[in-house]
Amino acid sequence: MRKNWKSYAIGTVVASSLVLAGCSSNSGASGGTAPAASSGNAVKANGFPIVDQPIKLKMFTRTAPVNGPFKDMPVFQDYEKMSNVQVEFTEAPTDGFQEKKNLLFASNELPDALYRSGLSQLEATRYGAAGQLIPLEDLIDQYAPNLKQLMEQYPEIRAGITTPEGHIYAIPGIVTLDAARTDKKWINQAWLKKLNLKMPETTDDLYNVLVAFRDQDPNGNGKKDELPMTARAPVAGQGLPILAMMSGSFGLDLQFGYNINLENDKVNIWMGNDRNKEMLMYLNKLYKEKLLDPEMFSQKEADYLAKQGSGNTGFFFDQTNNNFLTIQDQYTGIAPLKGPHGDQLQSQGAPVARDFGAFAITSVDKYPEVTMRWIDYFYSDEGSTLLRFGREGENYEVKDGIPYYTKAFIDSGNQSKLTPYAGGGAPHLISEKVASFINPPQVQEAQKKLDPYMPKVRYAAPMFDEATAQKVNILRNDLDKYYEEQSTKFIAGALSFDKWDEFQATLKKLKIDELQQIYQDAYDKMKK
């Protein structure tokens, strides 16, 4: 085993120094020192500590506004003792993180690894091709048993992170818990009960229920001030949340993180389809009749959360029940609504490899194997528990084999300061074993309603080579913007459906067919 590893290590060193010599950058130091450093202090294939003599790694990371310093977090303090690997974090606040990350690569001041780095696919491909990030597929194979097992269990993970050349340059945050990847459909059951209404099952039912919410004063204050339905405001370039929520009722799926149906191995971008027109017309009807929140297209996140917590909203979408915990009994989750053609699908949802580019190893790292083993621990339930919950007794207690935060810890207000997952994007595994906080019974219930209607496989956005990625980027800039703007106008009635032909023609002009072909090619390659 050990011999095997040595030859491998030398192999990568040679390879990476070749790459380095090939580009004009001047980070020569990395190649020469590696073999000397690794020969004395060998990495262990399994068990802890990872190395016998302590070593030090430098990592660049993002801290969320809710986090405290990483060195104060129990997970890193304890894991350092356990692994003999001391990690020195360079912490960049979320504000300015992207700029700092870019400058690291541009000025070649690389750390050993990037933790919680939120690399985009294009970034990973670029820096990988430039030799600044090292390929990880062999390291995963040999030094990351937990990650490897997850990748075998969920083949779509590998598909979503491997470049067309077969390299993996970044490891994602993995979410096997379905409930952490979907937005539930929350309906005001207190209002339903008060007005003697059935749970809505179809889109027509929903319409009738919303009309009743609007007209029959379910909150009983004598005023017509109820808000029948709302949704998150769109963020430019990320689609309209309301469409993602409703598309499944109209037979529209969201594969590859885009407006794509996958039918018999054929990729179909459905933005110009008649089904989409039907959906927009349905939403337009809701909007016109003041059933859909008129502020939906411009409200802030805080507005949206406040509406959830007010109890004065009939129907909305969110992943958890955190925002209305105090009045949680008022709401319940429902299944996707059956559409006019009988479609019933929960098309909204993140892929298992939810947070792309969460962790990467650079060419200056003298201990890539150690680094891989170090991060792999967090892809086990045990490691993830340490990361998300901290120390047993002090921060959490175990009930029925599942960790729960202690009341004292929650009341201290320090939970988000002491856990690096808070704020999103940390490289680790989220399974049902570590989700007591984000997956309380009410959320589990709501997820169960969605479960029968989840797509069989949810493909993550495919990896393109650099040139194709660039092309997709250019095509989608104009196309997505056009689609989002026009859809909003259709819904809000600022654009008449008489213009649908024109809308379709413009999509063609913006090369929707070319984009579809690119996705088709990527899918074909993935299938092979």
Binding site: C23, S24, S25, Q98, N102, F105, A106, N108, S120, L122, E123, R126, Y127, A129, A130, G131, Q132, A233, P234, A236, G237, L240, P294, F297, S298, N473, I474, N477, D478, K481, Y482, E484, E485, S487, T488, K489, A492, A494, T506, K509, L510
Partner: protein
């Protein structure tokens, strides 16, 4: 001494016949160059030093390969921008917002400064200055927050007033027609006090004897403003106007981005927000640099034109 001054204020700078050789003239004023030494060195190091970075507008910048190592692509990024489906709309919105700002927002601080200058009660004048100065310190997040509270269709005071007058509430923040009006007038509100400071300072530099002389001649106060106050600050006005026109293609993106939504995008989509969302956020340095360079060239052209015009008509110019 006093007569010299009065003459100076009225007459433009007169050039004396200067020494024969250029070198002799320069040597005679060596201490002026000595003063300039540090600032010019700073300009060369901190502004001209990094200028080689401009080349990324013509390259496919890859941080891994560095600026000089990335490959050339010629005018590819420029073409992409010009061929973008939204190019015309972006250009028109950017230009029209700036044109309206120049016509409407530029004169307001001058008027404010004149009002402050004309107020008989000096302490009232100081109050006026102090209060109008405050909004400058508000972040755009708060300004836009205030706008949406005030203009809210259901709860905002403005729509309450409209309803009280018998009108239908207006969805101001989601209306393409209202966007520019709201954007420009809130800019005026925020910045008039701040921008008037320069004019107030310039007005305090106007020779009081000129006012006395005008009074003697029986000029009304309006005439004194027209014939003494305004001419006294014309050089400052002209220079600020030139500098403003030199930024004709720039619109601060932060505020627009916060006000933007799909329903007002028709009029709120400008070059700077486009650069932000499609270039900066996605780490497309080359594309961003190309659009920036295009803007700069137009800005520079406008500045040269208006500078030449100003030199001829107002006898004030940048050089």
């Amino acid at each position: 001494m006093e007569s010299v001054q009065a003459k100076a204020a009225a007459a433009p700078v007169s050039r004396k016949r200067q020494g024969s050789g250029l070198l002799r003239r320069m040597a005679k004023r060596y201490d002026l160059y000595l003063m300039l030494l540090l600032p010019i060195a700073w300009y060369l190091i901190f502004n001209y030093g990094p200028l080689y970075g401009l080349q990324i507008a013509f390259k496919n910048f890859n941080p891994g390969k560095g600026i000089t190592g990335s490959e050339w692509v010629g005018f590819e990024h420029f073409r992409r921008f010009f061929e973008s489906y939204y190019f015309k709309r972006l250009l028109w919105n950017t230009l029209s917002i700036n044109l309206f700002s120049l016509l409407i927002a530029f004169p307001v601080p001058i008027l404010l400064a004149l009002i402050v200058n004309e107020l008989r009660s000096k302490s009232f004048g100081k109050w006026l200055q102090n209060i109008t100065f405050i909004p400058h310190f508000m972040s755009v997040v708060v300004i836009v927050g205030i706008l949406s509270v005030f203009l809210s269709p259901s709860t905002g005071p403005v729509n309450k007033l409209i309803e009280w007058l018998g009108g239908e509430p207006v969805r101001f923040m989601e209306s393409a027609g209202w966007f520019k009006t709201i954007f420009i007038s809130s800019n005026i509100w925020q910045n008039m006090g701040w921008q008037s400071i320069i004019y107030i300072a310039a007005l305090s530099g106007v020779n009081p004897q000129l006012y006395e002389a005008a009074k003697m001649d029986g000029a009304s106060r309006l005439r004194r403003i027209w014939h003494v106050s305004l001419p006294g600050i014309v050089p400052v006005i002209v220079i600020l106007l030139i500098l403003d026109i030199g930024h004709f293609m720039d619109v601060g993106f932060e505020k627009i981005l916060l006000m933007q939504n799909n329903l007002n995008l028709e009029t709120s989509d400008v070059i700077s927000t486009f650069v932000y969302t499609t270039g900066i956020l996605k780490g497309e340095y080359s594309y961003t640099a190309a659009i920036g360079l295009f803007n700069s060239l137009i800005n520079l052209t406008l500045l040269l034109l208006v500078n030449r015009f100003a030199r001829k008509t107002a006898e004030t110019s940048l050089w």
